[in-house]
């Protein structure tokens, strides 16, 4: 280095110092830097959410941002499948089942300031229809929406939809979005651009920062109408690697890991961390492609009942974070439904497999961060091998899965997925899974009886609909196009110091952020 450059560097350094002065970028209100900061709840996400827009968002991870910011008219009561009031204090359904009258709270204000009225609710519901993205179907049967007065919201349906109240309580159901998005920043896309990074809701938290790829910040809503949140701030940081998440949790830099923690590693966690296993409606399912050989032969399909050892799949795949499924519907949705008859029987399995036109199978599993579906896939591969099949296994991503329906000949023979219904009603599960037009019926299973019964049941009162749902269940069992393997639990790995855990089976991978607190 010459003398000149040295001098230059010195000048630069001095200049930099002069410019820097002694400013600080640290936030004023957060005194301690990280561990044990009592006012901030830190939660990792494995991936970015799509968008924090309730009328577009239709995934699971990200539901915390939606549900602590926005509220629907109804919700599921914590720890149950029961519907309870939320923004509506009560509701009435007319005798013909076509008119729903909701009485709205009058003490709710939006994060942006204005009071919530019936008109704002109506505007929000209309927005969902206008935006017309994935969750819009829930309002597809609506004929009209009117406001009788500031607190009376009336929805008239074109035809009877018995689970309609469940739509209102669903994690993805219509939410009441404020005027900041719907009016002020509507633009020409109903405020979709605004809602990509901002929000205006009524919930206990408001979205104050949305930095894609890094973190989302929720700040306590001091004007909240209900029980105020305990934490001043919730920071959801994108931490894609589970190992990194774990190390940060152990060190106290994260508070709760909501999902994806490998079941086998729970035991190796230190004492400062507790593990909560809670019921959810998430289900592990095996799809069978009945549109091509070998499983277009009902007898070969039936052989799978004796081939699959659900006990082993669930126990080794999930340890005690899932239970073996006993019925077609998620537990609690349809009491008295037919029991699943799967019992491993090597001789029967082999006999059925011997009739198969081809023994070469492809087994797909959807990619998930904890690798649990891969594990189940590999176990199943081994079980099928015992029966005499030669199984190739592959990982697929969701958009690929949607593409199968277009060319079922090329689609895999078997597929392992974990799905959850939109709400706690038999129709919400059966329609999307088993109906031939169902959005989650990825391998094109067709069953006319199922379709017909689903069409009938949706407009019938429960006492008449339930026998039909049971018939559907029996049909699905006998048809062997879907195998229900496991009821997956929510596994929350959290700091020992946290209390107030509250969650709902119908809201997967989610705890109520507002109810959590540090210490007693």
């Amino acid at each position: 280095m010459t003398r000149r450059t040295t001098t230059l560097l010195a000048v630069l350094a001095a200049g930099a110092l002069a410019v820097t002065g002694c400013g600080s970028a640290e936030k004023k209100d957060s005194a301690s830097t990280s561990s044990g900061d009592s006012n901030t709840l830190r939660i990792p996400y494995l991936a970015d959410m799509s968008v924090p827009d309730p009328d577009v968002f239709y995934d699971i991870e990200g539901n915390g941002v939606i549900l602590s910011q926005y509220e629907g008219l109804l919700k599921y009561k914590a720890g149950t499948l029961d519907i309870e009031p939320n923004l509506a204090t009560k509701y009435e359904v007319s005798d013909d089942g076509l008119t729903y009258t909701f009485t709205l709270r009058d003490d709710v204000t939006f994060h942006s300031g204005p009071k919530m009225t019936c008109d704002s609710v109506k505007a929000a519901f209309e927005r969902r229809v206008d935006v017309d993205q994935a969750p819009a179907w829930m309002l597809a049967d609506v004929k009209s929406m009117t406001c009788e007065n500031d607190t009376t919201f009336v929805i008239k349906l074109k035809n009877k939809v018995t689970p309609f109240l469940h739509y209102m309580a669903s994690s993805w159901g219509p939410k009441v979005i404020g005027p900041e998005a719907i009016e002020t920043n509507a633009g020409d896309d109903y405020g979709q651009t605004f809602l990509e990074t901002k929000g205006d809701g009524t919930g206990p938290y408001k979205l104050t920062s949305f930095k894609r790829g890094s973190a989302y910040t929720l700040t306590k809503n001091d004007e909240y109408w209900g029980t105020p949140a305990n934490f001043q701030e919730v920071i959801l940081s994108i931490t894609p690697d589970m190992g990194t998440q774990r190390l940060k949790l152990e060190k106290g830099d994260l508070d709760v890991i909501l999902h994806g923690f490998p079941a086998s590693e729970l035991e190796s966690l230190p004492d400062s961390v507790t593990v909560e296993k809670q019921d959810s409606l998430l289900r592990l399912i095996l799809y069978v492609n009945s549109n091509k050989a070998p499983f277009n032969d009902p007898e070969v399909r039936a052989g799978l009942q004796s081939t699959i050892d659900t006990n082993q799949l669930v126990e080794q795949g999930y340890s005690d974070t899932a239970e073996k499924s006993t019925g077609i519907y998620p537990p609690g949705l349809l009491p008295g439904e037919p029991k699943l008859p799967y019992t491993p029987d090597p001789a029967k399995a082999k006999a059925a497999a011997d009739k198969a036109k081809t023994k070469k199978l492809t087994l797909a599993y959807s990619a998930d961060e904890s690798g649990v579906q891969r594990r189940v896939g590999e176990l199943l591969q081994a079980q099928l091998k015992t029966a005499g099949y030669d199984v190739t296994i592959k990982e697929v991503q969701l958009p690929t899965v949607y593409g199968w329906a277009e060319n079922l000949e090329e689609a895999p023979d078997l597929a392992i997925m974990t799905n959850t219904p939109d709400g706690a009603h038999p129709d919400l599960w059966a329609s999307i899974m088993f109906s031939s037009t169902g959005g989650l019926n990825f391998l094109g299973a067709k069953n006319e009886k199922v379709d017909a019964n689903l069409g009938k049941a949706i407009s019938l009162p429960p006492e008449e609909a339930d026998p039909l749902y049971k018939e559907i269940a029996q049909e699905v069992i006998d048809d062997n196009k879907f195998f229900l393997l496991g009821d997956v639990k929510n596994v929350f790995v959290m700091q020992d110091s946290l209390t107030g855990l509250s969650n709902t089976p119908a809201y997967p991978w989610l705890v109520d952020f507002a109810a959590l607190k540090r210490g007693n």
């Binding site: 190992g243 490998p262 086998s264 190796s268 080794q316 590999e378 591969q381 081994a382 592959k394 990982e395």
Partner: protein, 315 residues
Amino acid sequence: MTTTTEQPPTMTEGAVPVEGPGAAAAREVPTPVARMWRGRPALSPGALKGDTVWHALIPVAILSLVILIAPVLAPYGATEVNPVGPLASPSPDAWFGTDEIGRDVFSRILIGIRTSWFAALGVILLGTIIGGLIGAIAGAFGGKVDMVLMRVTDLFLSLPAPVLAIAVIAAMGPSLRNTLIALSIVWWPWYARIVRGEVRALAARPHAEAAKLAGVSRTRLVLKHLLPGAAAPVIVTMSLDVGNLILALAGLSFIGLGAPPPAPELGAMSARGLQYLFGHPWVPIAPAAAVALLALAANLLGDAINRRLDQRTTR
């Protein structure tokens, strides 16, 4: 960087061939520089003793033996379950423990070395064949043929190989075959360069000139006289590439684009086992250590051959 008159001409040439876009300047490439890809040592003084190659050959010989008799050595099959149960710690019954399915990690590594080795070799051979053919044709014919072929090669060289491989696999869907195809697509240009450079340089040598004068056909000239000369640096590059490829496979598995399960591919085993690092560390660490050993052995052999060749040429 300033130019000094003292600078030996080889250095200039050394800088030329790997320049990225439109390296038309690289038409007269001398042999040693082509070996530079990823830190290949070029000519070095024959400072080491002649038996270095044999030192390096010992681990490779052991490795080859392992690869050859892996199925015999392995107490269990690659997908066979060890009765000690899933995620069991290392013990006399399961030397390196078992994985999440209960498969024997030691057996899987033995067989995995084979899979990874063959996978790497497959890519390298494919790269050598495609690249060698293009390089040989370009080098032997020269002129317009050379220019066109090398421009295409340059195009591929100018693209970031790893990024492209990721995109290719993401498009075709992950499978061991697709992964290997994708890697071959981005791997061959280096071999084309090396072979072409060697062929060009050798073509200018007296013995090639003599053969030409004696009326030997061009094909025969290339096959008999030029290609064998290019073999040595290609072998060096190949041996050094084994480690790089196995690491590339591991990285791809980590982002979900590697060999699908239950293939006992070392990189995939390590990447998929990473989630067990804290509770059951043997699951990811044992295969990673095997990757490291494999890469190390390949590297040492490559370096040793390189130095050995060096001595031959400097003498």
